[in-house]
Amino acid sequence: MSTVKCDLCDNDATVHEVKISGGKSIERHLCERCASAAGVQIQPQQPAVTQILSQLLKGAAAGNPQQPKAPAQASASACPECGLSFAQFRQAGMLGCAQCYVSFEGQLGPLLSRAHEGGTHHVGKVPRSLEIIRTAPQPAGTAPGAGASAGSGGAVDLQSEELARATKVRKALSEAVSAENYERAALLRDELHKIEAVLRSVNPPAGAPSLARPPRATRKPKPEEGQPGAEGTQP
């Protein structure tokens, strides 16, 4: 609440910049004039997530200088699975079904990256049912969670191979992100893209909204997890 003076002159500071680097925060307090001279962007109030999102969406709709035509065109199309149009999504900020992520992938990509501080790809937990594919690759149909891939014979072979590869890459990616080694992370991400392309060709996302699903990559190594005895016990 108390007024802070500008770092550069005697005016009251209205722009407060906090940079976080290496776990330390560096603060700058500037008045409006010094801030604009220093090239610091002025953001009035940190908006809520929904506001950020709706602004991003409006930006996408209005046609961002980099991608003038695509969003406008695409907003006319609707998700074939649930019928939601991109315009409806823009209004509500809610997607209609899992397939929407495929239907609007082009428009969602840049939007998600802005909403998630540059994050474009999932890194982290992967559904447990996929471990079944890893540990018992062949007898498809016997595994309860393998519904989507059951019965697709030879495709499962290639798929499980690619899935295993994706696991390794994903793990390495997760480590690279943790270590803030972004160059390596970018390379690994590209590799993951390629694997996904292969997986998509093997397992087209027809009725099943979940695409091909690689085994779990980065699970926290908790001793109690995965121990059959521990799971029936009380929390």
């Binding site: 997607l95 982290g124 049912s129 309860p144 980065t218 926290k220």
Partner: protein, 389 residues
């Protein structure tokens, strides 16, 4: 596994564990919460699902939640059939969201555009099939079904215990979509997941890990020394959200704040948790403790005045609103922790924060009260609990 009839008694029997004052760093950290958002593959998201589809999601998940051993005892509540008092009781205990109690999405824009087949609102929306599974007796786990996403799994623990909260909720997540360990439990649930976007959620701000990590902090000293705005700015610049006691859309009440992550795509769960548990929250804790020391050393009279005025009001007031109660209790909590107030237990203050809420107060009194009666009953109850007549 009882249904709605009289379940409020079950909930009321135990205190809310997250308000027990146990757990690490509990002088500053009230509770730690980890939430996972999940959707079932093969169904539209809730907003776009028909009533029949919502009912199917509810039936599938209820069976799984009540038979897979997610807790030693599980209470299932059909929220759309529960009474208003029971719903509010669950909101006050942070077991369900306000939106889940009401049966409509929170943001007006989402309400207007949420293209439900019937296009309904108000009473219609309140009747949409939805539920919650709650672990008993500790109530640390709750799984909302058909809120914004098909499943919202959350674990709340007292104090700073994020790793444990995550381990607990992760275990439940595994149980729901893994092979059953009890031999019961029906079909495993298959979650909507894509290799690129991770766990798919109705709102793209949750996509990826679907994780929301929140820590509720009591920061009265930072407020008193005028440093709270700085903390708000710093946390917001780190891409975190700062909210009030009642969560989304609420201002701080009584200097209780919730800090939570907003980024869910591109960062593994472990990294998000570590940032919170090892870097961000410890810094805020140190900052608050330093401010408390500063107040005691340099501005003790002012601090005493603040604390004892609030205590005086609580001991003397004849009418109290919930908002006023929480502000005064916040001051007294600081007084107890600073060693200024010695005849009141911290646990009493913590429990009063919950028991002065409207639905809890009516449970205490044992019958329905209108707003005016509640103010009177609240003041009477607080005076007694504080050792005044």
């Amino acid at each position: 596994m009882s249904n709605t009839g009289g379940f409020a008694g079950e909930l009321f029997r135990g205190g809310a564990e997250w308000l027990s004052g146990r757990g690490g760093e509990s002088d500053v950290v009230i509770s730690s919460r980890v939430r996972l958002a999940r959707n079932l593959a093969g169904f539209p998201f809730v907003c776009r699902a028909s009533r029949i589809q919502r009912q199917a999601v509810l039936d599938l998940t209820r069976q799984r939640l009540t038979t897979t051993g997610i807790a030693s005892r599980v209470l299932w509540v059909d929220v759309h059939r529960a009474g208003p008092l029971e719903r509010t009781l669950m909101v006050e205990r942070h077991l369900i969201s306000k939106e889940h109690a009401r049966g409509a999405p929170g943001a007006p824009a989402a309400q207007a555009a949420c293209p439900t087949p019937a296009g309904q609102a108000g009473n219609e929306a309140a009747a949409e099939p939805r539920g919650v599974a709650i672990s008993l007796p500790d109530e640390s786990l709750s799984v909302m079904v058909n809120e914004e996403d098909h499943l919202r799994l959350q674990v709340v623990r007292p104090g700073l215990e994020l790793s444990q909260a995550f381990a607990d909720v992760n275990r439940v997540d595994d149980l729901l979509e893994g092979p059953s360990t009890t031999g019961l439990g029906g079909k495993p649930l298959e979650f909507a997941f894509s290799p690129r976007f991770g766990y798919l959620t109705a709102c793209p701000t949750n996509v990826g890990t679907g994780i929301r990590v929140s820590v509720m902090l009591h920061l009265p000293a930072l407020k008193l020394v005028g440093e709270m705005d700085k903390v708000r700015r710093a946390t917001r610049d780190m891409g975190l959200a700062v909210r009030g006691y009642y969560g989304e859309g609420s201002e701080a009440a009584g200097e209780f704040y919730q800090i939570s992550n907003q980024t869910t795509l591109g960062k593994p769960e472990t990294v998000i948790l570590q940032e919170f548990e090892r870097e961000i929250i410890p810094q805020v804790i140190q900052y608050e403790r330093a401010s408390r020391r500063l107040l005691l050393e340099k501005r003790k009279r002012m601090l005493e005045d603040k604390v004892f005025r609030s205590l005086g009001l609580l001991r003397a007031a004849r009418l109290l609103t919930p908002e006023e109660a929480i502000v005064l209790l916040s001051d007294v909590r600081l007084g107890v922790l600073a060693g200024l107030v010695t005849d009141i237990e911290l646990a009493t203050v913590n429990q009063l924060i919950l028991l002065t809420q409207p639905a809890h107060l009516q449970r205490v009194v044992g019958h329905d009260l209108d707003q005016g009666e509640r103010r009177e009953a609240r003041a009477d109850f607080v005076r007694k609990a504080m050792g005044a007549g």
